[in-house]
Symmetry: C2
C-alpha cells in the first residue's frame, strides 16, 4: 500500500501547497524510536547538551526568514507573531542550556552517613536521571514554541532524553524544516542526529505512545485527542507519564469596583486578549464574569466597540473554522444567550470575532447551559452577568480546571486598602471579595493574573503553565524552568564509593552542581 | 443487608481474635471523603500542621506498648521489629513536622518584573498548594510505617491534604487504634478529627479511588491490586495521580572479585537480608547473580548454612503462606532449577526459609523461566549462577523496574583502584565491570546499594524509595522528604498585589520560607 502523503495547506485559501512527506508507518515509528533510544548515551554529558541547545537556537535564528515564511504560509498567524514566537522558542532553548549547565534541576541531595543514629544511617546521594525516549505531540496553534523546536522538546533534550515529535498536520513543512535544523544542530555539537525525529500522521501518534521504548509523553491539544493518548499511555503494560495540556476556559472575574473604575479599559483589553492570534490561544479568556448594571454595560459596550474594530481572522485550518462556527451557533441558540456581537463567517476563509452574553442565573440553572463551560477555540468569549458575589462564586464553582484565572480589581481592592481606608469606607465588602476570589481561583487554576490578561505566558523560572484537569493531565508545567522535571526520575546511591558515583554526586563536586547536604563529615 | 464484619486474625494460629469493625459501605466512604474534604481549610496553616504531626508522634509513642502488642497479635512480626517500626513511624512524623516549618517543599520561586525584556516580563511568584483529599492504601507488611500512621499519611498531612486510609485486612485492630490516636492528635492541635479517616474493605478501596473529591492516592502492595487501582484512577472522568509501589525483585550482583574476597560474609549477609521479617520486605533481594565456580559455591554454601540456622517464620496471613508455598513449588519444578535449601512448610502456620538456584544460561534461554523474574513474597531468593560479565549483563537486561539494586564488589573494585594499581594489575577488567554495573542498575532501579543490603530503607532527605514500573507507578518516592511532593501542585501568581498573596509568597517573607529569586528590584 502506498504511503499517505502529508500535504501542507494554505488556510487563507484552503488550497494544498505541496506534499511535504508521507505519514509514518508503524515500522517508521519503530525505527525512529529505536534510533532515538540508541542515541541516549550521547546525550548524557551536560556540556554537549548545552552546546546542542545553543546550536539549535542559533540555527533557528539564522533561518528565521525561511521559518517565518513557511509557518505563515501554513498557519496564517502572520510574520509579526511568528517572529516573536521564534524569539520565544530560541530564548527557551538557550534558557534550558543555561539550566543544564547550572544543574539545579538535578535536585541533588546528600545525606552523610551517621553511625550514631538508631538504626545507623548509611550515606545517601540522590540526583535525577533522564527517563529515556520522550514522545512530543505538537500543538496546532504554536507552530514553533509548542511544536518541533518548542518547550517540550527543549526541556526533554535538556533533561537528556531523545525526542520523537509527532508533528501537527496544520504545519508539516514548518515541522520538517525545524526538525532538520535540530538534527543539524545535534551533529554540529558532536551528537548523533537521531536524538530528534519528526513523524507525521494520526496513527503514528498512537503507535508512538504505545511503543515500549517510549518513556513519557508531552502533549498540547484538545481534550478529545489528549484524553485518547492519555488513556493509551495509562493502559500500556508499563504505563508512562503523559503530560498533556488539554483545554481551558480561563475565567475572568471583574469586580463591581473594578467595573466602576475601569469599564472601558477592561472591555477593550478583553477584546485584545480574546482576538489575539484569532482567539487561538490556550489561555484565551473564554468566560468573563461581569457585574450586572450600568458599569458592566459600559464594559460590554467597550468590548463590542473594540471587537467591531478588529478585522476578520484566518483560523489555522478549515476544520477548526467549522468547529468554531458550529460551537458559536450551538451556544447562541440557547434561550437566555444573546449575541450582541455575533462571531461568524466573514468571507469564505475568515471569521469575525464576537461575544455572547448570558445571565448568571440561567447558567446556574443548568438545563443545557453546560456547553458554555466548555472551551470554544477561536475569537469568541462569553460574558456572564452576575448579581452579587455569591452568584459569582457559584459560577466559579461550576468550572473544571484551568490554565489561568484572571481577576480585574479596583485600585483599592488590589492594594488591600478598601476595608481600612478605601473609597467605600471600612464596612465595604470589597477587600474581602478580592481575597475570597484569590482563594476560589487558586483552587481552579495553575496561574492567577491580577489586572492583566492571561494571554502571553512568560518563559521564566517561576512560571507555571498547567492546572487541574483538563487544563493538564498531571501537576507539571509545560512552560518555564520546572518543565524539565517531567523527564527525570530520582535515583539514590547508598554507600557507593566516590569513584563509582556519577560526577554530579562526587564529593569534590567537579561540575559545581547545587546540592543540599545534611549531616556532618 | 448487614454490614460485613472485619475480623482481626492471629496468623500464628489462624484463629479469629475479634470483630474490630465493619466494612465501609459506599455511603460510609462518601461520608468519610466529604468530611475530610470539609476539613482541608483547617489544615492550611503550617504551624497547626506541624503541631498536629508532633502530637501524633507523641501519642503514638505514648501508646507504644499497646500498639506493639496489638500489631504483634495480628502480624506476628514480633515486638522488637514492631518497636523499631514504631520509632521509624514517629520519627517520620516529626521529620515532616520539621519540613513543614522549614518550607523548602513549597519550592518557592520569584521572578521580579522586568519591563526591559521583549516582551516585558510581569512579576511571577510560584509556590505549591495541597491537592485535596488523599487516599492511602495501607501495606500488609508494615502495619505502622506504611499503614495508617505511615509515610503516605504523614507526607499527605504535612502537605496539607486530609487523608482517608483504606486499612489492610491483615491488621484492622492496629489500624483502628492508630487511626483513633491520629484523630485525637488532630483535636489536640485544634484541628477537626475528620482530617484523618480509616475505612475497611476491598470494595471501599475501589469506591475511594473513584470518589470525585479524592485528588490523589498512595499505595503499597501487590502488582495485581495496585494495577487495578491505578487503572481505576486513570479511568476516572478526572484522572488522579496514583503513586503505587507494586513489586520489586531487588537484584543483587556479586562480582567474581567480591566472591573471591568475601564469599562467606556475602552468603551469610544475604541470608540475613532474605529472612528479615520472614522475607516480607518490599526490598528483599529476590534474585542474586553469583559467579559460577568455587568462589560462588562457597557463597552458596555460606548462604545455605545461615538459612539452616534461621528458624521458621510466621507469614502475615494464611493466604500469603499458601501463595508463598505455591510460588516456591512452581519455581522449583522448573527443570534446571535446584533447591539446595528448599523453603517449605514448617508446622501448620509457619514456613522455613530457603533458596533456589538456576544457571544463567537456562534463565536466558526463556522457555518458562520468566517466573523467576517475578517477586515471590516470603523467605526465599533465587541464585542465578553466571559465567562472565556479558551473561550477568544479559540477565539484568531481562528485568523489569526495581526499588533497589545491590552490588557486591571487591575492595579494589569499590575504590576504583583495580585498573591502576589493583591486585590484578592495570589490564584487569574488574574496575570497568563495576562501572558498567552501576550504569546497568541505574537504568533498572530507584536505589543503588554497594556492599550492603537493600533491606532497611533509611528515612532521610536524600532517600528514594521508588523506581521504574512495577516498582512504582510514578517517578515519586514513598520514603524520605521528597515524598511530600506527591501531594502538591504549583500555582503561579502574576502581578498579584502583596496584600492578596499567600504569606509564603509575600515580599517580606513573614514565614521565612526558602526561595529562589531572579531579577533585580
Amino acid at each position: 500500500m502506498a504511503a499517505t502523503p502529508v500535504w501542507s495547506v494554505d488556510p487563507r485559501t484552503g488550497k494544498q501547497r505541496e506534499v511535504v512527506t508521507a505519514e509514518a508507518s508503524p515500522r517508521d515509528v519503530d525505527l525512529a524510536v529505536r534510533a532515538a533510544h540508541s542515541a541516549r548515551a550521547a546525550l548524557a554529558g551536560s556540556s554537549a547538551r548545552a552546546a546542542f541547545l545553543r546550536a539549535a537556537a542559533a540555527l533557528l535564528d539564522g533561518a528565521a526568514a525561511r521559518i517565518v515564511e513557511t509557518a505563515d504560509a501554513e498557519t496564517a498567524l502572520g510574520p509579526a507573531r511568528l517572529t516573536g514566537e521564534l524569539a520565544r522558542t530560541t530564548g527557551q532553548l538557550r534558557a534550558f542550556a543555561d539550566l543544564v549547565e547550572e544543574g539545579s534541576h538535578l535536585d541533588v541531595r546528600i545525606d552523610r552517613a551517621d553511625p550514631a543514629l538508631t538504626p545507623p544511617r548509611p550515606e545517601l546521594r540522590r540526583y535525577k536521571v533522564p527517563l529515556g525516549v520522550v514522545a512530543v505531540y505538537a500543538a496546532s496553534n504554536f507552530p514553533l514554541a509548542f511544536s518541533v523546536p518548542g518547550g517540550d522538546t527543549a526541556s526533554a533534550l535538556a533533561a537528556g532524553c531523545p525526542v520523537v515529535v509527532k508533528a501537527h498536520p496544520d504545519h508539516p513543512a514548518t515541522s520538517e524544516l525545524c526538525g532538520s535544523l535540530l538534527r543539524r544542530a545535534a551533529e554540529s555539537a558532536g551528537l548523533p542526529a537521531s536524538v530528534v525525529h519528526v513523524v507525521h500522521g494520526f496513527d503514528a501518534g498512537l503507535e508512538l505512545v504505545r511503543h515500549p521504548l517510549v518513556t513519557a509523553a508531552g502533549f498540547t491539544g484538545s481534550v478529545r485527542g489528549g484524553r485518547a493518548l492519555f488513556d493509551a499511555a495509562a493502559a500500556r503494560p508499563v504505563p508512562i507519564p503523559f503530560h498533556g495540556e488539554l483545554g481551558s476556559l480561563n475565567p475572568v472575574v471583574v469586580t463591581p469596583a473594578a467595573a466602576a473604575e475601569r469599564a472601558e479599559e477592561i472591555g477593550s483589553g478583553l477584546a485584545g486578549s480574546v482576538t489575539l492570534g484569532a482567539g487561538q490561544f490556550c489561555v484565551k479568556p473564554g468566560l468573563v464574569l461581569v457585574p450586572e448594571g450600568p458599569d458592566g454595560d459600559r464594559l460590554a459596550d467597550a468590548l463590542a466597540a473594540s471587537l467591531a474594530r478588529t478585522g476578520p481572522g484566518v483560523l489555522l485550518d478549515h476544520r477548526m473554522r467549522e468547529n468554531f462556527l458550529a460551537g458559536v451557533a450551538e451556544r447562541a441558540a440557547l434561550p437566555a444567550v444573546t449575541a450582541p456581537v455575533a462571531p461568524g463567517p466573514a468571507g469564505e476563509h475568515t471569521v469575525g470575532p464576537g461575544y455572547l452574553s448570558v445571565p448568571a442565573a440561567d447558567l446556574l440553572g443548568g438545563g443545557g447551559y453546560e456547553v458554555l463551560l466548555e472551551e470554544c477555540f477561536g475569537p469568541v468569549t462569553v460574558l456572564v452577568r452576575y448579581a452579587g458575589r455569591e452568584q459569582a462564586a457559584a459560577v466559579l464553582g461550576l468550572l473544571d480546571g484551568n490554565l489561568s484565572a484572571t481577576l480585574q480589581l479596583s485600585a483599592a481592592e488590589a492594594t488591600g486598602t478598601t476595608t481600612a481606608d478605601g473609597p467605600d469606607g471600612p464596612d465595604s465588602p470589597d477587600a474581602p471579595f478580592a481575597a475570597e476570589l484569590i482563594g476560589l481561583v487558586t483552587a481552579l487554576a495553575g496561574r492567577i493574573v491580577v489586572n492583566g490578561w492571561p494571554t502571553g505566558v512568560a518563559v521564566a523560572p517561576a512560571q507555571h503553565h498547567g492546572g487541574p484537569y483538563p487544563a493538564a493531565t498531571s501537576h507539571s508545567t509545560s512552560v518555564g524552568a520546572t518543565a524539565i522535571e517531567r523527564w527525570l526520575r530520582p535515583v539514590a546511591y547508598q554507600s557507593v564509593p566516590d569513584a563509582l558515583l556519577p560526577p554530579e554526586l562526587r564529593e569534590a563536586n567537579p561540575l559545581g552542581v547545587p546540592r543540599r547536604v545534611t549531616g556532618a563529615r
